[in-house]
Amino acid sequence: MQFMLLFSRQGKLRLQKWYVPLSDKERKKISRDLVQTILARKPKMCSFLEWRDLKIVYKRYASLYFCCAVEDQDNELITLEIIHRYVELLDKYFGSVCELDIIFNFEKAYFILDEFLLGGEAQETSKKNVLKAIEQADLLQELWEPPQGWLSELSLPAST
């Protein structure tokens, strides 16, 4: 996968993840063009399209569009289900996820994505395992001022 974009019906970008090196300018141009192209499509149209030399796979969930750009040999249907699994993960984590959750907790949306996809490839497809990783992190977060002894048990490096 080359990149993933989440954007609203109004064309506002909510999440952008780039797996290939592109300049900031190129990224902006790609997002702008692609968002326009997809918003112009009618609801019943197919979820795939050829765009430049990439295959675009997209799906709309409520007010949000999820859009992935994959390479020629990549499988469109399984990419569609990558999107769905990501939506499931967000949904499970936030509990009936809505666009606002992603706006206000954008950093979480990125963390969850990193657990699920890395370098544009599926890292862990089990919903349980991804959520376990995120919850562990949250657990660490809640103890953000842990006692010293707890730290040494986990053999963390000394604070610098």
Binding site: L13, P21, L49, D101, E107, K128, N129
Partner: protein
């Protein structure tokens, strides 16, 4: 505020986001952001040290602002500080910021890499994963340099946690993609392959992406993965939907892993081991069988996951292209999808069937769906699906259904979306030509194409129809009649006028017997379009008019009247004005015979690859090429000697035919063919040479009808070339400088240099005597065919060469197309009253226009195989006439102009070379192999190139060198 805020919500961040959302205008948003930026900046700069929480909050705000699309130029250092925090949440935000806002500041990179290094060696899996995610997200070369050695160790170490392995595998993949040279294969390689056996499905899922990428680049090193992949796949395919627990997705066991396994297998040919292959075929059959089973769930996720595997399995079946039974089953399955209610499936089925159409086993099966596909082209509501249908029709087209498919595509064109018209036009043009059994159908099709979608008909397309009509006399009358009728339409496309002008100018006489299309009617019809056309078309029409004067003397007065009108002869466009003036003059002073010669019918165009195909390939990208290459192969046979050529060929042919009609197409032929007078249509200059100043090129261009032109200098004919001139020529095949000729009076030295299809040669004429040469004159000429192949320009030298002096002459050479003969150099002078007349061959040989091409062994052999038609190869076996010293041989081969390729031929005694001959019309790739046999003192030399004449010529030239 959102309903959920897990962990420690950063209240300040939430407030800021709310503020931004409440902004009523873009200006208000910018104002709020600037206020926040100022606030953050002051906090970062303030005297009071910030605590970790505040730092995290501000860095997160900056990140938010950046993601909104605003520039951020500070905060990197604070983010880097967060990396070394021992609080997970601060570290995490620091890494996120770094991943999104990559900075190329080297000091920062050093600090970041340091922090990553600490986390990687922390043995805390959570921290290690964070660090690996960061490397994978950034993927820069600096990171590859720092960590490409360490990550493989983490990946294969026995005590690494599963989650860390997963991250390490994909992290390494990202680095390998970005900087393959920095990721060195090694002892870890074989252990990575065995991750396919790992108990943890997540580890296998992550590792297989890495293995697939590595395998596609180094198939041999990783080939043990095939049997492992097959057994893993087999276990998944045969498992019950509950066996894999959380890796089962909507009742489909491990769909992602299955797809990736099938994808990995596509890096390899079918397994050679019978047992492995049997097991794999079983898997593929099971997958196909499952497609027929009733769905276990009505959810679209279930069918998508199941069909994702099915499509990947079909891709593998197509990749193997060796199991007719599976191919036909795949085709039938896709046939069912063609009428599925899910648009996505219809789209994918059309796409996948396109590749099936090119397999000999399934081509016929694909064809049975033609009606469905045509229907899709007409009724699908989504243009991307219609596009797929058009692609499939193109792919399934063969002689049996060409007329139907071309007709359907033409009728679709009338309403087709603008976005796909140009491509459709190219496809129709290609199919019409490729499957033309009778050429009247071809002509009809192309003219229809111009009528329906004239704006999208590129030059290549209309050039082509003209080439074919010129080369096939059985269709010329029909073409003239049809184009005449098409021009009757009150509004016709300019491309139609171009084709009409050209064809009537050449073949209007074939329909002139019918009073309805008498010469004058034809002329008036063409001329009625004149004023609506652009300059290039008008120029073409003017050329058609002069051709009319030759074809139909009765139109002469009318046409001269037109040419003489102010709107022509005083046209503000210089090209039009010049044509009008020259054509008018030509028609009034040239005799009928001269006119007939000058304006004779165009000769057939030389064989060339279709430029339409080239254009389609360019448009479509590599995906379409496989089908296209086959087209290329077949085309040669189908149209026999017919001619194909793009404008380049036309331009070249212009040069060969001394006829102003040469201008008809090649509006670019304004470049002079030879001689030094830069003028449109050099021939016209020649014809009028008595009127204008004498052209220095007069002696160069010995066109038959030029005899009326007075010779400029010596009246003696040039002497025939010296008997030894071939031998002298051979001396220069592998070198560019040296003495070409020497006798008691004269020495001729040469220095030359070549770049692409251009060359410059300096000739040095040395007077060896103490007496001056008078009437010293040299000419360079291109006899026969050569004048259309080489464009040679010289300046005259001073007619006096003092005793002991040397004069220099520069010769500019342009290679238009490949050639065999050498230009002739004639030198005449008087020495003590006696005329010296010497002719030599100028050492300009086709190999001078070589560009060396470096390539790897695999490329070389692939190209070698591609050039396997008998006429593409030339071979000679000959006795060594010099020593067989390696260094001398190498120097000669390099001197030839090709690249000498090391480590290509398995036999180190042999030499292989590659190069591309650059001509104006085309590039001709050449491969060479020289096999010395020291014992027998013999060589075998083999040349392969895309052009038979080139292979032969280079072979002949080189064989004389050893």
């Amino acid at each position: 505020m959102p309903a959920v805020s897990k962990g420690d919500g950063m209240r300040g961040l939430a407030v800021f986001i709310s503020d931004i959302r409440n902004c009523k205008s873009k200006e208000a948003e910018i104002k709020r952001i600037n206020k926040e930026l100022a606030n953050i900046r002051s906090k970062f700069k303030g005297d009071k040290a910030l605590d970790g929480y505040s730092k995290k909050k501000y860095v997160c705000k900056l990140l938010f602002i950046f993601l909104l699309g605003h520039d951020i130029d500070f905060g990197h250092m604070e983010a880097v500080n967060l990396l070394s925090s021992n609080k997970y949440t601060e570290k995490q935000i620091g890494y996120l910021f770094i991943s999104v806002l990559v900075n190329s500041n080297s000091e920062l990179i050093r600090l970041i890499n340091n922090a990553i290094k600490n986390d990687l060696s922390s043995r805390n899996p959570t921290f290690m994963c964070l660090a690996l995610h960061c490397i994978a997200n950034v993927g820069s070369r600096e990171m590859a340099e720092a960590f490409a050695g360490e990550i493989p160790r983490i990946l294969v170490a026995g005590d690494t946690m599963d989650s860390v392995k997963q991250s390490a595998a994909l992290c390494l993949l990202r680095l390998y993609k970005a900087s393959p040279d920095l990721v060195l294969m090694g002892e870890w390689t074989s252990r990575v392959v065995h991750l396919l056996n790992d108990q943890h499905m997540g580890v296998v899922t992550a590792a297989i992406s890495l293995i697939t990428c590595l395998s596609s680049k180094n198939p041999d090193e990783f080939k043990t993965c095939v049997s492992l992949a097959v057994s893993r796949l087999s276990r998944i395919v045969s498992s019950a939907s509950t066996d894999l627990q959380d890796y089962t997705y909507y009742f489909v066991p491990a769909p992602w892993l299955s797809c990736k396994l099938l994808r990995l297998l596509q890096c390899y040919p079918p397994p050679e081991d019978g047992a492995v292959k049997g097991r794999l075929v079983e898997c593929l059959e099971t997958i196909l069988n499952k497609a027929q089973e009733p769905p276990k769930s009505k959810k679209v996720q279930h069918s998508n996951a199941k069909n994702a595997i099915l499509f990947e399995a079909i891709s593998l079946i197509i990749h193997y292209d060796s199991e007719p039974n599976l191919l036909v089953r795949a085709c039938n399955q896709l046939g069912q999808f063609l009428q599925h209610r899910e648009t996505n499936l219809r789209y994918l089925a059309l796409e996948s069937m396109c590749t099936l159409a090119s397999s000999e086993f399934s081509h016929e099966a694909v064809k049975t769906h033609i009606e469905t596909v045509i229907n899709a082209l007409k009724t699908e509501r989504d243009v991307s699906v219609r596009q797929r249908a058009a692609d499939l029709l193109y792919a399934m087209c063969d002689r049996s259904n060409a007329k139907q498919i071309v007709a359907e595509m033409l009728s679709y064109l009338e309403t087709a979306d603008y976005s796909i018209r140009e491509e459709m036009v190219l496809k129709v043009a290609i199919l019409a030509e490729k499957y033309a059994v009778d050429y009247s159908w071809y002509v009809d099709t192309i003219l229809n194409l111009i009528r329906i979608a004239g704006d999208y008909v590129s030059e290549e397309v209309w050039y082509r129809v003209i080439q074919i009509v010129i080369n096939r006399d059985d269709v010329q009358g029909y073409a003239a009649k049809t184009v005449f009728e098409a021009l009757q339409a009150p509004a016709c496309h300019e491309n139609m006028v171009k084709v009409g002008g050209y064809i009537l100018g050449e073949f209007g006489n074939l329909i002139a017997g019918d009073p309805r299309s008498s010469p004058l009617v034809q002329f008036n019809l063409l001329h009625s379009k004149f004023h609506l056309c652009s300059v290039p078309t008008r120029a073409l029409l003017l050329s058609a008019y002069i051709k009319f004067i030759n074809l139909f003397p009765e139109t002469k007065a009318t046409i001269q009247e037109v040419l003489r009108s102010d709107s022509q002869i005083r046209n503000s466009d210089v090209e039009l004005q010049q044509r009008a003036v020259e054509y008018l003059k030509l028609s009034s002073i040239a005799s009928t015979d001269v006119l007939a010669t000058v304006l004779e019918e165009m000769p057939p165009f030389p064989e060339r690859e279709s430029s339409i195909l080239a254009k389609l390939k360019k448009k479509k990208g590599p995906g379409a090429v496989t089908v296209e290459l086959e087209d290329g192969k077949e085309r040669g046979e189908l149209n026999g000697g017919g001619d194909r050529g793009g404008d380049a060929a036309i331009a070249a042919s212009n040069a060969s035919t001394p006829s102003p009609s040469a201008d008809l197409l090649g509006l670019r032929s304004t470049a002079p063919v030879s001689g030094t007078t830069p003028s449109a249509g050099s021939l016209l200059v020649d014809v009028f040479s008595e009127a204008g100043p004498s052209a220095t090129s007069a002696g160069v261009n010995d066109d038959g009808f030029l005899s009326s032109a007075p010779p400029t200098v010596a009246s003696e004919d040039p002497a025939p070339p010296l008997p030894e001139s071939d031998e002298l020529l051979n001396k220069f095949v592998c070198k560019n400088n040296g003495v070409l000729f020497e006798n008691q009076l004269l020495q001729i030295g040469i220095k030359s240099e070549y770049r692409q299809n251009l060359g410059r040669m300096y000739l040095f004429y040395g007077n060896k005597t103490s007496v001056q040469f008078v009437s010293f004159n040299t000419t360079v000429s291109c006899p026969g065919e050569l004048q259309s192949q080489l464009n040679v320009q010289t300046k005259t030298v001073e007619p006096l060469v003092e005793g002991g002096a040397q004069v220099q002459q520069v010769i500019n050479i342009e290679c238009l197309t490949d050639f065999i003969d050498a230009p002739l150099l004639n030198i005449k002078f008087r020495y003590g009253g006696a005329l010296q007349n010497i002719s030599l061959k100028l050492p300009v040989t086709i190999n001078k226009f070589f560009q060396p091409t470096e390539m790897a062994a695999a490329d070389f052999f692939q190209r070698w195989k591609q050039l396997s038609q008998p006429q593409q190869e030339a071979q000679k076996i000959f006795k060594a006439s010099h020593g067989m010293d390696t260094e001398v041989l190498k120097a000669k081969l390099l001197g030839l102009g090709t690249a000498l390729l090391e480590n290509v031929d398995p036999n180190p005694e042999n030499y292989v070379c590659a190069g591309v001959i650059q001509t104006k019309a085309q590039q001709v790739g050449c491969l060479l192999r020289l096999e010395p046999n020291a014992q027998a003192q013999m060589y075998r030399l083999t040349l392969r190139s895309s052009k038979d004449t080139v292979s032969q010529r280079v072979c002949d030239l080189l064989a004389e060198q050893f």
